[in-house]
Symmetry: C2
């Protein structure tokens, strides 16, 4: 592969002020599974505009960091989590009136955490809240800016990614039972999957889950102990689990 001479153009006589200036922010939709229900993190805005309203965490991009680094920094500031199991960009939003103060273009990121951990309210947020995603999608919460649309896009993305990539394992721990993994699909898609067929599909796909040989203790109501797995490498064309096409089964939400 040829290494490109990246700094070809001369940055000589050039006046940046002749181009319209924008503020660039990064907004992070932080998702986690809690009790089989997909949850997301909201923060209460401590500053104008939309002061006191719920919003998704975010902040201004700094000139010397990449977009991904900015997202990672915002995530760490808000949750204390330094290494998310997954952090993906999913969209950009730049409508002229989306921020009443000035022209702000924001880049949407999707973060997936295994556990909630200690959620730290940052300097510009008076409070933090973990809510079911379904509540936001139903419009029960009034979010600041165009954050409701951003959340909708993020959820649509995670639902698709679930079918196409290995994102599901980002929701569960280092080792997990297949019931836990199945709960990720069920909670995200709002469907019920047949446990038997789920197991076969997942185990059959090569390099997807790897048995550890250990067993998980059963729940308080008994039941056979489940085998513990760890995540394998991702795979070729899409994952082993797909949304039903014709025969839709009853939903849970």
């Amino acid at each position: 592969m040829v290494t490109k001479s990246y700094k070809a153009g001369a940055p000589e006589q050039y006046d940046p002020s002749q181009f319209p200036a924008f503020a660039v922010t990064v907004d992070v939709v932080i998702l986690t599974m809690s009790d089989g229900v997909l949850h997301m993190l909201l923060v209460r805005r401590g500053e104008t505009p939309f002061k006191g309203m719920w919003a998704i965490p975010g902040g201004f991009k700094r000139p010397n960091e990449t977009l991904h680094e900015a997202a990672r920094r915002e995530l760490a500031e808000e949750t204390g989590v330094d290494v998310p199991t997954l952090l993906t960009q999913f969209g950009a939003y730049g409508d002229p009136d989306r921020d009443p103060r000035m022209n702000v273009v924001t880049i949407g990121y999707l973060a997936v955490l295994r556990e909630v951990g200690a959620i730290v309210a940052g300097t510009d947020a008076a409070e933090a809240l973990l809510v079911p995603v379904a509540d936001v999608l139903r419009g029960r919460l009034d979010l600041a800016f165009d954050h409701e649309q951003i959340v909708r896009d993020a959820i649509e993305r995670v639902r698709t990614e679930l079918e196409v990539t290995g994102i599901a394992t980002a929701f569960v721990g280092q080792t997990f039972t297949l019931a836990e993994l199945r709960a990720v699909y069920e909670g995200t898609w709002g469907v019920q999957l047949d446990a038997a067929n789920f197991r076969r599909s997942v185990v059959a796909e090569d390099g997807w889950v790897i048995p550890t040989g250990r067993l998980a203790p059963p729940g308080p109501s008994g039941g056979r102990p489940a085998e513990l797995y760890r995540a394998g490498k991702a795979w070729k064309h899409g994952g082993p689990i797909h949304r039903l096409k014709s025969t839709e089964r009853k939903s849970r939400q």
Copy 2:
């Protein structure tokens, strides 16, 4: 659905200069099928930086337009096409050193055109060129900025969209033969598909292609005239054509 009071926050005492300023651009990867081969449009840069190098068309976002409008404007300026058959956002790029002049965040858009039409070289481009996408992916052309990466992401996106959405019909005319539609999949994925099975899959899926009853004239070398179809509505979960998993067939490129 509840209408949100959008201008809630007061834009009062606020100093925009306290936040880092960025230029925001929109870059458009313009794709079209030509002779069964996926092509893209490049323009030669007429200005510094990277003056004289090939680049994908793009330009600065204006404060009073949306990102989508900016992409549409750039596309029209560069190609004369006002209404593309498809225009989708696929990514944002904001590495600190991606533009030697200043901090520029760019939003990548993917445009699909039916025909090339009259390609008009704009004011800031000395020349325009339609090249096979494969040439760019192989690194045969040295593109300005981080445009090679942007192109790679765009192609990856169009390949996925092809499997999941009705994007294929955006490449063909108002009416089309199934051979033309098949060429879109074959040219984009670099595979050969069985014509018989392709027909069955596409026709079987309800509301995907609609027969017009008319026939297309055969080519110069003869052959039975093909039936003409027009595009139907999109569908539920993904399109009818999928990349082969196990049995990979011989590629064409």
